[in-house]
């Protein structure tokens, strides 16, 4: 586990797609030792050195088409993914690795194993093994029913015992991470085009509205275009509000956690609004599931909260209820000019929700 995390730290050293000047120019600012005047001097010199250079900028292009925020260029896609894990590959589970995987599948890759170890492949393997297991188990259950009905003959009894043993063995097998072999039976009709003309990346990185807005308004890390016309923060703000009626609520919470350094992603897999990762999906599973509740909401069903709590708890995450106080007066969105001031009218309060088991709390 230690080795793997080291690799990830090297692969993904940056939590946001902003380049630090110290990294860009290789100039490190030393620590200031208050009583040591030389350290002040060195600090001062290096500081001025950096200030003289231009501010590193690496803006990614995002296109808004068909109501979707897309990043098309592969380098940009990679930048947004590896610097904070923004977005989702349109043809992948999360990170945009369609090109790598297809390359591996078609035998076009150079054995660098990038596509072969993708999480999609591992999942595929696991599912195939489980399918086998279920088939055998169904056979066992049928025979057991016959047994209860008293209709089992000798041969079937032997078969039943054999099958039971097989099942036990299957349970014990830990799926080994074998490299995926590229065999011809995985080729499809559509692949012809790719094989002849070369692999064009058909995938784009899809961003949520809150992600796009954060990257634009908060970080200034993207330029966003609709029909080749660039959108300002304000225009983007109004657009996001029009496609998502809960945009303000979602964004306020998203910004709150992102600005604390958390990697915040969609919680749809677990029936909640957001997931929080300390570093990002490749490092470890999400630690928290977030449920957003407007403070002014009158009636909240216990069953609804407890069902989300069960799902989230079932995957060993902690549920956090985020209550959001909204501005008292209704805001006319078309009249907003200063977004930051508007956002400051909101407030987030976290309440932790945990199951309590009296029988385990006695010591």
């Amino acid at each position: 586990m230690g080795k793997r995390s080291k690799n990830f730290k090297e692969l993904y050293p940056n939590p946001v797609p902003i380049t630090l000047s110290t990294d860009a120019y290789g100039i490190n600012l030393p620590d200031i030792i208050p009583h040591n005047p030389i350290s002040w001097l060195i600090f001062g010199l290096r500081y001025l050195q950096i200030q003289a250079k231009s501010i590193p900028s690496n803006v990614v292009r995002v296109d808004f088409e068909d109501d979707v925020f897309k990043v098309l260029d592969p380098t940009d896609m990679n930048r947004l993914w590896s610097h904070g894990f923004f977005g989702k590959g349109s043809l992948s589970r999360s990170d945009p690795n369609w090109a790598d995987r297809t390359s591996a599948r078609l035998g076009l890759d150079d054995d660098t194993q990038q596509g072969r170890n993708a999480s999609e492949e591992i999942t595929k393997q696991r599912r195939e093994e489980r399918k086998r297991f279920k088939l055998e188990r169904a056979k066992v259950q049928n025979l057991e029913l016959k047994q209860r009905q008293g209709a089992l003959n000798e041969d079937e009894e032997v078969e039943l015992n054999d099958l039971r043993e097989t099942l036990n063995n299957l349970k014990k097998i830990v799926p080994a991470r074998k490299a995926i072999s590229t065999t011809s039976n995985s080729l499809r009709e559509e692949d012809e085009v790719l094989l002849i003309e070369g692999l064009d990346n058909l995938e784009y990185l899809q961003l949520q509205a809150v992600e796009s807005f954060y990257l634009k308004f908060a970080l200034g890390a993207i330029d966003i275009f609709e029909q080749n016309e660039s959108l300002s923060s304000l225009e983007l703000f109004k657009k996001c509000n029009s496609i998502d009626s809960k945009f303000m609520l979602n964004y306020v919470v998203y910004h709150h956690f992102r600005s604390l350094g958390w990697c915040a992603r969609s919680g749809i897999k677990f029936g909640c609004d957001m997931l929080l990762y300390k570093r990002g999906p490749p490092f470890s599973h999400a630690e928290f599931g977030i449920l957003i509740i407007p403070t002014k909401q009158e009636f909240i069903n216990w069953i609804d909260v407890s069902s989300v709590a069960r799902v989230v708890g079932g995957v060993k995450k902690n549920l956090v209820l985020c209550y959001v106080d909204e501005p008292i007066e209704d805001i006319e969105l078309s009249e907003v000019s200063d977004i930051a001031s508007l956002l400051k009218l909101y407030k987030v309060t976290e309440i932790l929700y945990r199951r309590w088991t009296p029988s385990k709390s006695r010591d």
Binding site: I18, F217, W262, V305, I351, L352, D363
Partner: protein, 451 residues
Amino acid sequence: MSDDEEVDAIQDWKILTQDVVPKRGDKDFAPDGTLVQSQLLEDSRNAMYAALAVRRGHTIKQELVAIWYPERKEAYVPHLRGPYFKDIGRPSSSPSNKIQAAWLNPIETVYLCERGSVRIFLHNDSYERYKTRILQNYIQKEKSQGQGNNFDDDDDEQFDFESNLVSLSLAHLYALAFSHDSTLVGKYQVYSYLKRLGYLVLDFKDSTTRQLDEYHKLVENKANESSISIFQALKSYTLSLFSSKVSNILLAKRHYFTYKSIFRSLRLIPSYSTYDSLKKLKEPTENKLTPCFDVWKPTPQFSKKNPTQPDFQIVIANTNQSSFPSLSQIQELFNSSNHMLNSNTTKNTPATIKNSSSGPSKREIRAQRAKERYSKLDPKIQRSIDYNKLKDKKFKFGNSGRCFIVALIDNGVVNFVNLSEGDFSLAGFGTDDLQELSSNPNERIDHGIVW
């Protein structure tokens, strides 16, 4: 077995007749019409019915009696015996010093009767007259033998309960004790659930006033401390000069040297900070939730009169009738809890289940190894590990430890939920322990940043 599997596993009632710890058995998916299955079902049912038929009661040696007073809705125990009264009952004056008596509320009465420990009789005049006679008797004894109250109780008149009063069946007692208040059955179910596990339970005591006092002291102390260094002030002033509100881009276009400084510049959304709910006490909400019980973990030393701080505090909610609490209701609960401000309690963190039988579990072995590795590390690194561990704990269990347990009832099924005061920004009260462990004592506002 995971929690989910546990919930739907079979209840094997046969185990009760075998003096063995209940195990979980196999269930079937669907009825298949076979005799085998229906026989198994019959067996399971009969095992259950047999257990339900086991009689409640106690041996003559353990005989314990109480008298239910319908007008008072309380039971009087004239002669306390047994281990039940550490937390149960309010002492009553009795004529003799040797014998202790107590009054029980409806919930305590039903609990003791239902478990078979106390036999309840219905009060009538004959018992009152008896009590008066006994009292007069003592007064006379005092006159003749002088004070001191060490009278011989043996020749006292004994009251013949069986001839004079009606004994109450469980159904009768429930009707008498719980009919006047429809919340009592639910409260009783939670109470008895906890009592059966050995917890000590008393009525809830509100601590809002104390919390408010402690909060005001904290605020005073903070104001007296020099909060921010000049260095910090200069830094933040110069930085603020660069922010550009005009273009509606939050992060100013300038050189950045650390990611932490970027995150600091991105902080914008106001968020709740620990103890903020005590800042300005609002009017009590319309449907103020009234907590029910103060609960203590089982402990041999427990004093009803001067109890220690409760380990848990319980409020009851019915899934069918009440909404999930609103934020103000939750904060009201936090304010009323027994929490000592700034005590850095690590309350309600799950207890490590001690594995007494076989050797150390895998988890324990791993923990032991981690401990060994840790002890060999550089103290600076040790501090950084401790710092991060503490942060994680605060994210998961709350910064202050202020919390409440909700006992959720759904038609007789009880589930418990812990609601705790969260604080991901970790920028206000309750962060002194983090401050001590942090590498840079001047940085007061960064504890919440995870990078």
